[in-house]
Each structure stands twice: as structure tokens, then as C-alpha cells.
Symmetry: C2
Subunit: 177 residues, 2 copies
Amino acid sequence: MKENKTKYVILGILNHEDCSGYDIKNRIDVALSQFFSAGFGQIYPTLKQLVEEGMIINTESSSKNGPERKVYQITKTGKIELDNWLKIPVEKEDVRFEILLKLFFAGNLNKEDILSHIEYFEKRNRLKLEKLQKMASELEGIMEESVDHKNYYLTALFGIRVHEAYLRWAEEAKILV
Amino acid sequence: MKENKTKYVILGILNHEDCSGYDIKNRIDVALSQFFSAGFGQIYPTLKQLVEEGMIINTESSSKNGPERKVYQITKTGKIELDNWLKIPVEKEDVRFEILLKLFFAGNLNKEDILSHIEYFEKRNRLKLEKLQKMASELEGIMEESVDHKNYYLTALFGIRVHEAYLRWAEEAKILV
DNA sequence: ACGACCATGTAATGAGTTACATGATTTC
DNA sequence: GAAATCATGTAACTCATTACATGGTCGT
């Protein structure tokens, strides 16, 4: 840890368009769920902190038409912070595959239990792969429209390749177990 | 979170052989580093907690030959706890790919910066893939000797498939950027 | 009226990292 | 005698999840 990813995700989203905390949560769930998630309990305090740091400002607070709603905008300071972070090379992936942990210690388990772990894993990830493929094929058509669509497509493609690898491994593992 | 993985990793290791905290750290770094890591600041307090819970006992404490050293052993309670955990199906992977986050928000970056991110990612993971392949080929020869070796091999194979996917994606991404 | 959704926030808790503090043994 | 490795532990801090607390709007 050490680097607060939620902070940069919020800056990244606000760099696109002004949003409320609720909007930010939606954007994350829709577009980033494949490789990032955050709850309100993380988002609202981070927004508060970012305001204190001068990275974002609260431009609009309406409770007239609809429920209370605070809209935030990224500042110049925030943009610089985001840009600096974007340029830092990524040193390591932060992956903790619980299924591998279980497999590694599975000496205790019988074949059926191991197989059912693998099959469950397979099923879950096949569904995810299908979703990603759908997403990618929708994006393919509009990829040339903007850099954002292209980057979005690249993240979907990453998911596809990784999930294909999961399924290939599951096939092989079922035979070896 | 909620489920303390370090706890089960320690139980899993002690289920194999009696170890000290220092040994456990070594086992994790050598065999599990691909998908798990833990520092001493996590290991020692967890050992203490596991003793309190009756999952493990401290069998040997020597300061005669060499520095202070405490060896722990798993108890029947600990074995049951481990077994129960092993049987619980894994619901989701816990992956947070920082590179995808950066790519997703990379609208700000120029092509060179994006390419250098991808190339760095590629280089790093090519090295890791080579290590995994070496590990796997060593394990292939002794796989039939024990269930543990086979399970170890399966985790290495998982790493290989996933890293191959990373590299394939990087190839494709470089063209599309 | 009820449920779905919009909307913001705090408090408690858990999990993990980093830095700190200490000291022995082995190897060069 | 310096550096590497063995060895244990605590304290401060950060990050994230879950549960709680509150209340408005819109459609049926």
C-alpha cells in the first residue's frame, strides 16, 4: 500500500467530468469494476481529504431539485498531482489469488474438493469473460472516436486475455489433479 | 477483506512442518511470493493471536545455540480450522492492476508515456515468466512424488498462463496505442 | 404506502505496511 | 571489524470494509 489508489481514481474521474460522490461510485462500478472497487465509506472521506488538500473544489451544492447533492471539480493542483502519478512506473501487481492459496495447501483436501474449487473458479470466470467480450466488441466500433474509448478498450482486452488464461489453466489443472 | 489470509497461510505452513516466525516468512517469500506476501509486522502478531486461539502451540524456545528462536506447531483445533477454510469456495479474485488504472486515465499522457508504461510492464513480467518456467520445469520431474509437489506445480502453471496473457496483451496494446 | 433509487456521511473494525528497537551468529 | 543473516517483537499509520444513521424523490 502506501499510495492511496482511491485518491487517484477520484482525481482521474473528476478530470473527465464534474461529479458527485454518488456519481463517482457509479463510474467506478460500471467502468472500473474489473480491476478496482471502492465503497462510499472510502469515497466520501477521500473527497473531504482532497478538498482539504486543494486538489478538488466543491462547485455546486443543491438540495432544491432533488436530494442534497455536492458536485466536485478538479483543480490545477489536482491535475498536476494526477499527471505526476500517471507518469510513475508501476512496480508490481497486487494480486492475491485465494484459490492458489487454497490449492497450495490442499494436501489435506481430497480430489473432489479440489476439483470443485477449480470448477467453481472456471464457471465464475467464464461468465466474466463473456461480459468482457461483449464490452470489448461494443467498444471496438467506437474506439477511434476518442483516446478514452481506446484506453477503455485496452483495459477490457487485458481482462479478456487474463480470463482466457484462467480458463486455460483450469482445463489443464482439472486433468492434472 | 474480513478473512485474515495471513492466519490461514500460517496454519497451512505449520500443517506441513513446525516452524518459527522467521521460517514462515521465508517459506512465504520462496514459495508463495507469486500470489501472497506478508511482513514480520503481520506474522508475529498473528502467531501470538493463533496461540491465544489455541490453533497453534509454542513447542520449543531456544536461545542456547544461536539467537532466540520460537518454534510453533499446529494443534488439532488449528487443523480443523484450516480444513474448514480450505473447503469454502472462493468467491472473487482480489486484483487491483495499477497499470490498468493508469491506462484508463491516460487520456492526459502522450503516446510515449503510455508506451513506456507498457514496455516496463512487459519487461518486468517477462522476467517473472522466465522464473516461473524454470520453477515449473524443476517441479515437473518430481511432481508424482507427492501431492504437495503437484499442487505446487499447479500454482506455478497458473502463474505461467497468467504471465503469458500479460505479455500477449502487451504486444497487442503496443500496436493499438 | 412501498420499494427502488438518489444522496451524504460517520464509527468501528480489520488488515497490512513501515519504521523502530534490540541483539546474536556467521562469514569475509 | 564490518556486513550479512538470523531472530523477535512493538507502535504508528494507512487503507479499506461493513454497519449504522439519515432523509429525499419517483413511479406504481
